[in-house]
Point group: C2
């Protein structure tokens, strides 16, 4: 999967997820979640980095709020969300935002 | 500076900056930019991670679009933006988004 998400012209939506992970039994699950998300209607792409200290930022991009709600309600994803809360994440913040403008270099 | 930004109840704004950095003569400049941004009116916080491969995500949070525009127009920041385009970044994407909802663990 490429590092940069290829997103269309705004508007579209972003889910900004910042977290500190408690252990590293999660790498395979994270890969599976990206695979699963990318099969969801309205998925546009994902960008993700985690530092050696366990702090990470993942931003996923979606066509609509409805697409985000459907992904949140995905049964396999729900189970992982629960395990994330109980086990993997010391702390996280999740923000849902509407992207209104975008710039890049080189220009798309 | 703490890893997680302490942001108020939405709505507020986020600038999502994803990039690949070409060289590492930038660390001090990045620190200075965070210091300078945090003195700007309307600055709420910043979260940033860069991987060993040079790919990074920085999200800064702001009270308003006007605050973002003022930061973009800051003279010292403008010079760094230009150098970033010319020298430091192979590629970047910058997205301006309005945060409508936020959740966290533990609940704030």
């Amino acid at each position: 999967m490429p590092k940069f998400a290829k997103t269309p012209e705004p508007p579209y939506y972003a889910v900004i997820f910042t977290s500190v992970r408690r252990d590293d039994g999660y790498a395979q699950v994270a890969e599976r979640m990206v695979e699963l998300a990318s099969q969801q209607p309205g998925f546009l792409g994902v960008e993700s980095v985690r530092g050696a200290d366990g702090f990470g930022i993942t931003v996923s991009y979606w066509t609509s709020e409805e697409a985000i709600a459907a992904w949140k309600a995905n049964v396999e994803h729900l189970a992982v969300q629960e395990k994330g809360k109980q086990k993997w994440y010391e702390h996280y913040d999740l923000r849902v935002a509407k992207v209104n403008r975008a710039y890049s270099k080189p220009a798309a």
